[in-house]
Symmetry: C3
Subunit: 344 residues, 3 copies
Amino acid sequence: MAFTLAEIAARFGGRVIGAPQVLIRQVGTLERAGDGQIAFLANPRYRARLAATRAAAVIIGADAEALTALPRIVCDNPYAYFARVSQLLNPPEAVVPGVQPGAQVAPGARIDAGARVDSGASVEAGAVVGPGCWIGAGSCVGQGAELGEGCRLYPSVVVYAGCRLGARVVLHSGVVIGADGFGIAREDGHWIKIPQIGRVVIGDDVEIGANTTIDRGAIEDTVIEEGVKLDNQIQIGHNCRVGAHTAMAGCVAVAGSADIGRRCTIGAGAIILGHLSICDDTQVSADTVISRSIRQPGTYTGMFPFDDNRSWARNTALVRHLAELAERVRRLERQLQQKDPGHG
Amino acid sequence: MAFTLAEIAARFGGRVIGAPQVLIRQVGTLERAGDGQIAFLANPRYRARLAATRAAAVIIGADAEALTALPRIVCDNPYAYFARVSQLLNPPEAVVPGVQPGAQVAPGARIDAGARVDSGASVEAGAVVGPGCWIGAGSCVGQGAELGEGCRLYPSVVVYAGCRLGARVVLHSGVVIGADGFGIAREDGHWIKIPQIGRVVIGDDVEIGANTTIDRGAIEDTVIEEGVKLDNQIQIGHNCRVGAHTAMAGCVAVAGSADIGRRCTIGAGAIILGHLSICDDTQVSADTVISRSIRQPGTYTGMFPFDDNRSWARNTALVRHLAELAERVRRLERQLQQKDPGHG
Amino acid sequence: MAFTLAEIAARFGGRVIGAPQVLIRQVGTLERAGDGQIAFLANPRYRARLAATRAAAVIIGADAEALTALPRIVCDNPYAYFARVSQLLNPPEAVVPGVQPGAQVAPGARIDAGARVDSGASVEAGAVVGPGCWIGAGSCVGQGAELGEGCRLYPSVVVYAGCRLGARVVLHSGVVIGADGFGIAREDGHWIKIPQIGRVVIGDDVEIGANTTIDRGAIEDTVIEEGVKLDNQIQIGHNCRVGAHTAMAGCVAVAGSADIGRRCTIGAGAIILGHLSICDDTQVSADTVISRSIRQPGTYTGMFPFDDNRSWARNTALVRHLAELAERVRRLERQLQQKDPGHG
């Protein structure tokens, strides 16, 4: 599989500068791309690498088009353009349909003729697996769960009973969709379980990373809207809504009943507490705890700064005495004010 | 399945106000419950929803019983009461016993006649699976592990060799019980593994959320006492003890040899460092790192506050200079004291 | 299996004091070891336990050798010595070769005659499983993946297509190697997926804890060098390099393209942001966010201190007003300076 720059530009737009007949077989990084490979420059910070690259061609913005003499495609969004070129050169593996030996399909489950179920997987009664789906080895689709067209479950995914996936949903290994939410009521020092009778409902074109978990709703559903992208090891509590096209980096924890808007980005290890809402187009930085609702789009941060251990110890001890420090400053202000009332 | 308010009150107590013959088929939220559904009001913050609810009946405390004219059950703990009603209306699926096709039971494993093992699951030599247990698809019960009566392992659970589960233990998908603890000794810049020869021992009525991991002890056992409730993605290190009826929210990390008391609650994403103890009835807030032992019950918090990114950057830079700021305040105090010794 | 102190010292060195013929059958802790068990003292903090121990013998440093009259082995590094003795007394279970009933091996996969594949596991086309490997129940080795000699995959491990494991790599249950990295490009409020065409390459003698995930590279490989030890629930993003003999405690998150040196230790719950490098021999404390490159070996910390909830609330509110506090101190300094220019 190979495409000339001209062919690529014909598909995806952009302006070719230099030899349009250069053949591209694969993508690469500026540092290591070689013959037949196309690299990209999206971040100005890496401009220095442009001079040294041995790539056959580059994808580049207009602001940097003069910085290289290599064959290049000039476009508005080099990173997105690169994504499309890489998709062209690296198409997903075709689904070879069929229920493989060693897979278990319960009576009453409906597997589309164009779907594949790998060995060791099980599809339980009443489940529906749409055309073009691929259920990986050892995965489990629970009773009455439904998967839209073209879903991919990598090996060892579990979808609990009754959950719904839209079209083209990708679940990586170890993902668990629809386990019980953490619903317990305290009585006399013990906990009484609250049955979790809602479902998880996932929109089209959602991709979910390895070992991420999304709990079913306590009464109503947990909802992941279309186009959401979740990295690995994320936890989404029961009754949450994650708005369309929101992306979360690894290890985010979202407590129950949080309502997260559309097109948000949530940084690695952030924690969203429960029963609050975050408006559309909000950016939460890594390691930030969102402890109350956010009603204005913007970037929000709450990361504690690291330091060498000795400096950290000295400064951090004072965090626990800030109220005293503030009181001492207040006292100084009062003293100076008394001395010199006209001054402050 | 349906019960009148009178029948419910006959089972669980409480005082019926309004039509006792109202039929209840399901639970619901104040906002969306309709015909045949019972809702509850536990948190005064949601009182406004009471006026608008279309629920058939509500469970409510005496403090709020006059706020609605709907048929209602008045009780001391509406949330716990609701839990019981929901359990009544949503009983767990009955276990249909039998080793299913595609399950592997090793010679020498003992599966009670009243237990079920789903396809793709494996039960290894010497393991004991008690009456009423249900081992989900693709789960694995290791050599010599023992499961008490009525345990439920959802699909893709792993119980390593030799571990012990009490009665009615529920393990959600992706749970790993008894993997090796992180025991390594450093020598000349390399690590030497310390065999982890203890077990995990879990008491009765413990429920553990999806993808939570509990490591086996290095020498002695890791112990989870009865009635503990763990949410998803929690990590419990080797040799820990988690006291009875303690509950932990998602993504908590507990390092090795921590000893956590009874009836504690640990918030989402909290970290409990190793080789320390936390007394009974302690509450740890979300995102809090417990770095030394706690000997007084109470609520402990160490969450860094979030802010808009610009304010955060300005304030946080100063955290790293707190010691200087404190020194400047000290200097000011000295100066004022010297000027006016009688004043301070 | 039992060894005398003399036999142990003959294997591993050290100096025997007291009866060299004492028979050792197992290791134990100072508190609970009894007849036939050897304990160790590595941390001076536990010296008090030495007096009360009922162990048959102890492993101890020269600094403490006079503190007990028990038979003992004196050595430089008692903890590492203990590790070796425990390995001697607790050898790993021998691998009984063979593809077990219920395992699926695709045509074209090469399983060494000395390897074992348990029931419910699947090995896909083109995969290579080396001598002495043990693939646990329900695990999956993807297309073209290669496992060196003596690897152990516990049940429910997934190795994606094309990944490479060195010799003696141990992967605990729920580990996912080679899922897609989180590569997405934004365009018009949507996300375009960037195919992840790199691999994960893991060196010899790496051990990886339960439910840890390591993503494949976007273009080039994610690399885990020899001797790395990772605890449970860790996330390693695409394109990272983790240097040889580095160890990470549970729940660490490493974002994409981080380059971590050799012999580093990373504490529980730490977060390493992406596109930065950490030099060899760096120690990162628990719960610390590394937000820029580290070029000097040392210990780095950024943990927010916990406190009782009331004190925390009072002090933390002030963190968000530190800039104001600093400004007030500056104003006081100016006022005093103006009053008394010769003083400051």
